[in-house]
């Protein structure tokens, strides 16, 4: 096992001297400024990489406690299928857990999980199915067997499929009840059209024929197979022992039935405009963005990350939060958003919520804040704060072995170098006010924002909104793709 020694510290002096005896001298800014900190030294454990029966396995031995945690990450999700598979691919993780296996009906799976005090999770996104198992070392054999059985031999019991379908239908019915959820789903639809990011589940996706056993088995055979799988294991077991157990469980797992298509390239709306979903609400929801071309792994990525922190993702230290919340009291929460996918276009923009009468002033203030940032360098203090947070907080990336393993599984899936985290910190440390300004100047265009507001038109004021661009009224039920 390779161990990398990591040291992070700005000050190298030994522990702080203590101020004088009275209360007045012992607290306050002068005391804080006099404090000096010793360097923080720790060993960051480094996982081993193996291959078992054609499956990539990351492994980190840890005998602190008699527990083993296993993660499985499969490539595959609704984004890689056409719309008619949307329900089946979305339901897959839940139905692996609830639908029973060829040897155990659903109730027996529930009982077995309880009997062995196993903790499991099953979830997924547009491109991934993710599951985990936590077990006492003494129950590793039955736990591992049951978990892999659920992944390899699911039966998708029809009663459980109906339970899932009914709850999902209700979820669809309730979507408009939460104005923020309505705003976000409609904004995705507006920006991404018929791309999977823009999809939202509709009753028409949830017909019984969308969730037949044949359909579910088809997506299972295309996603849950060795080539798509990365396993991560950490805990109280040696590699030779674990390898033998894994080999038994993974043996003769049939290969994937066909390769998955590539993720479809999004075509994101670039034409600016103001869109309003009329709702009589005590608070408007504001979302804005336009396409952006900075990618995870790019040279400009680090400056964009720091720029985003200064603009609005860095909490109270960021400008949007300072202006919108701290100075004006317009909102409880306000932040920028900047997605930087590895290979495709992302979006940059901002979100907040404010009472109807402050909708236009808040939108204008966010746009003005963006303009300032694309016009001139941020201060050294701002860049320093954003960089220090990442550098001094580096240790929080290593708080648990499970965190270390699942992060490395992500890097492997994203084809990032295994020392990406170290590269990231080094990249961030090189960011300057000038490099932040350059990436914002080239990528942030406040005049090109696509703005969506959910709120009460009478109290927001149509004229004010029109100052920001031609206003289109949207009816969520007939929104064009």
């Amino acid at each position: 096992m390779r161990r990398a020694a990591v040291v992070t510290a700005l000050a190298l002096l030994a522990c702080g001297t203590i101020a004088g005896p009275t209360a007045a001298q012992q607290t306050g800014k002068s005391v804080v400024e006099r404090l000096r900190y010793p360097p923080l030294r720790f060993d960051a454990p480094d996982p081993e990489m193996h291959e078992v029966e054609g499956v990539r396995v990351l492994f980190l031995e840890d005998h602190t406690v008699p527990l083993v945690t296993l993660f499985a990450r499969f490539k595959g999700g609704y984004s890689l299928f056409d719309r008619s598979y949307y329900a089946a691919t979305t339901a897959l993780p839940a139905l692996l857990r609830y639908g029973g296996t060829t040897t155990l009906p659903p109730d027996s799976v529930d009982e077995a999980l309880e009997y062995y005090a196993l903790q499991t999770s099953f979830g997924g996104g547009g491109e991934t199915v993710f599951t985990s198992l936590n077990t006492l070392t003494t129950h590793l054999d039955p736990g591992l067997h049951l978990w892999i059985d659920m992944l390899r031999n699911p039966v998708f019991d029809s009663a459980q499929v109906e339970v899932w379908r009914g709850r999902e239908m209700e979820n669809v019915r309730r979507r408009p009840d939460d104005p923020q959820r309505l705003a976000f789903t409609q904004f995705n639809r507006l920006m991404y059209g018929d791309h999977p990011v823009g999809w939202e589940m509709d009753a028409s996706d949830l017909e019984p024929e969308d969730l037949t056993p044949e359909r579910l088995h088809e997506v299972q055979r295309r996603i849950l197979c060795p080539e798509n799988l990365i396993i991560g294991i950490t805990g109280d077991v040696s590699w030779p022992e674990m390898e033998a157990k894994l080999r038994r469980e993974l043996r003769d797992w049939p290969p994937c039935s066909g390769t998955l298509p590539e993720y479809p390239e999004p075509r994101i709306r670039s034409k600016p405009g103001v869109f309003l979903i009329p709702r009589e609400l005590e608070q408007s929801i504001l979302v804005m963005a336009h396409p952006a071309d900075v990618h995870l792994g790019d040279g400009r990525y680090f400056a964009a990350q720091i720029g985003n922190a200064i603009l609005g993702s860095g909490g109270f230290s960021s400008r949007i939060m300072a202006r919108i919340r701290t100075e004006e009291g317009y909102a409880y929460a306000a932040s920028s958003i900047w997605t930087m996918p590895r290979r495709y276009q992302g979006i940059v923009g901002a979100v907040t919520r404010t009472r109807p009468e402050n909708t236009v002033p808040a939108l204008e203030l966010i746009l003005e804040t963006m303009k300032e940032m694309s016009r001139e360098d941020p201060t050294r203090e701002e860049v320093g704060t954003a960089v220090d947070q990442i550098v001094n907080g580096f240790v929080f990336n290593f708080e648990t072995m499970a965190q270390i393993i699942s992060r490395r599984m992500f890097y492997l899936a994203q084809e990032l170098p295994e020392d990406w985290l170290e590269q990231y910190v080094a990249g961030v440390e090189d960011v300057t006010p000038r490099s932040v300004h350059r990436v914002l100047r080239d990528n942030l265009r406040p005049d090109d924002m696509i703005i969506l507001v959910v709120g009460d038109p009478d109290r927001i004021g149509r004229e004010g909104l029109e100052r920001l661009g031609p206003v289109t009224i949207l009816d969520p039920s007939t929104l064009p793709g």
Partner: protein, 504 residues
């Protein structure tokens, strides 16, 4: 998130959680055996430190024994607003000239007093003019402010999760830091405890009103919850929303908040807990050094309000343009009452997991509900509610779901749970206790809450032991004693449509 440091607890707890039947009765629970260092400072502040090896990080929690139960109609929301204001800095942090700020505070606060009287007279023109004046004065004061300076100092130090939370009966401030910067937290927190300045007051009050609009005024679930508690409690302050009623927020002034701070924020009303990779002796030394010199505060007055016995079912409708939802609450005793462990077991029997009675009946068998939860709340110090929340699946109605809930409760009260169910619940309770302990921050919260509630950090661990000893008869008895028709309040969220059939 953190796992390995506390996992030795999991290892010791789980063997007794297995359904093999052998639940060993121990003298002390594993939680009680944690090597917590405890020190009561001369000014009455209780300080607890727990050293845990692992990644070099430390979690810090300060809990004050005060929340919305200390409020009255007219000043609701004070505890929570004060929580926000304590991030605004002190006489030396967050300011360029605190004396100049204070001169402006006086003028703003005088305008606020006049504004409140103008509002009472219905003089809206005067109210608008005064609000504009306050706004302008606060803008002037802002020229002396270094905004969010405390946040920035901690952020630069690599802090994670800096935040605070106000409940009905406690207010808790928390953060995590890299272990080498632990002393920074002692210096900042002691400064905040002794010397806060409530700057940017009126702007922050607007922020809190926006928070209320997000959590309650545009949220059907939030509105149902608030209306339900207000109906279930006629006089006890558990019926008051923690965030405050909107009209109270509009009229709260800086002086009221300062008075509240003076009364309840003395070190003698605070519990401070640090958990992580920090030498416990060193932590105690820093606590004495930084917090020790602060003067003891006055003894906070007790909350003496007691909700009168409910004498008949109450029903409340919330009309909202949203899908229906249901909330039921029965008055039950406080968390330290002898019946509390059995009530806790009852929540698990009804809704804890897929095989629980209500979940299995409503969600899996009948498919009449998308979700069903139960809980004890809204606090634990005073008599609470046994609460059930359910969302029907269309076309099933809240009335149908409500009837099925009563049917299952009646069956359970009549027959009692099976031994197998009780063992399952014990496993869940134990696992739940362990999961809460899997992080430094989670453990710091539990130690702080237990100390605030009873004065002894071990008590919540002991409580979970008592949950494991609950019998089938205990469950039958508490279900039939407390979960009666005349003792319940039912709130239904519905569209403005003709009434459904009433429940008989």
């Amino acid at each position: 998130m953190r796992a390995e440091g506390a996992l030795f607890l999991l290892a010791t707890l789980l063997p007794c959680a297995l359904p093999a039947g052998a639940v060993a009765q121990q003298q002390r629970t594993p939680g009680e055996r944690l090597p917590v260092h405890e020190k009561v400072l001369d000014n009455g502040m209780r300080f607890l430190a727990l050293e845990r090896k692992g990644a070099p990080t430390v979690a810090f929690v300060v809990q004050y024994d005060v929340g919305s139960v200390q409020e009255h109609l007219g000043d609701t929301g004070t505890a929570h607003l004060l929580e926000h204001l304590l991030f605004k800095g002190t006489t030396t942090i967050g300011t360029k000239d605190v004396d100049a700020e204070r001169v402006l505070f006086g003028r703003m606060d005088a305008a606020q007093d006049t504004l409140v009287r103008a509002r009472a007279r219905g003089d809206s023109a005067r109210v608008s003019a005064l609000a504009a004046r306050i706004h302008a004065l606060e803008d002037t004061a802002r020229t002396y402010v270094v905004p969010n300076e405390m946040d920035r100092i901690l952020t630069r130090a690599g802090a994670q999760g800096l935040n605070a939370t106000t409940t009905n009966e406690s207010t808790t401030y928390f953060v995590e830091l890299p272990a080498n910067r632990a002393e920074l937290w002692f210096a900042l927190e002691a400064d905040r405890m002794s010397d806060p300045v409530f700057r940017e007051f009126y702007t922050e009050r607007d922020v809190v009103m926006e928070e209320r609009r997000t959590r309650i005024d545009t949220s059907p679930g939030g509105m149902l919850y608030e209306s339900h508690l207000a109906a279930a409690y006629t006089m006890h302050p558990y019926g008051v929303p923690v965030i405050g009623w909107m009209s109270d927020l509009q009229n709260l002034g800086r002086q009221e908040v300062a008075e509240y701070y003076r009364r309840y924020y003395g070190p003698n009303n605070a519990v401070v807990v640090v958990v992580g990779d920090l030498d416990a002796d060193k932590a105690v030394e820093w606590a004495e050094h930084y917090f020790g010199p602060l003067p003891r505060g006055e003894e906070p007055p007790p909350v003496l309000a007691r909700e009168p016995q409910q004498r008949g079912e109450r029903r409340v409708d919330v009309v909202w343009d949203a899908e229906p939802a249901l909330r039921i609450g029965w008055h039950v005793p406080e968390a330290l009452d002898p019946d509390a462990p059995a009530l806790s077991v009852l929540t698990s029997l009804l809704t804890g997991g897929r095989t629980s009675r209500l979940y299995h009946r409503l969600v899996i068998e009948d498919r009449s509900a998308a979700s069903v939860y139960s809980s004890l709340g809204p606090g634990e110090k005073y008599p609470q509610l046994f609460q059930i929340d359910a969302t029907p699946i269309s076309p099933h109605t809240p009335a149908e779901v409500e009837a099925a809930i009563y049917e299952e409760i009646a069956r359970l009260a009549e027959e009692g749970p099976t031994q197998r169910e009780l063992v399952r619940v014990r496993n869940q309770v134990e696992a739940g206790n362990v999961r809460r302990l899997l992080s430094n921050l989670g453990l710091a919260f539990q130690i702080a809450s237990s100390t605030t509630l009873t004065g002894d950090w071990r008590d919540t661990f002991r409580l979970s032991q008592r949950v494991g000893e609950v019998t089938a008869d205990d469950v039958r008895r508490v279900a039939s004693t407390w979960l009666t028709q005349e003792n319940r309040t039912v709130a239904t969220l519905r569209r403005d449509e003709p009434d459904e059939e009433p429940i008989s």
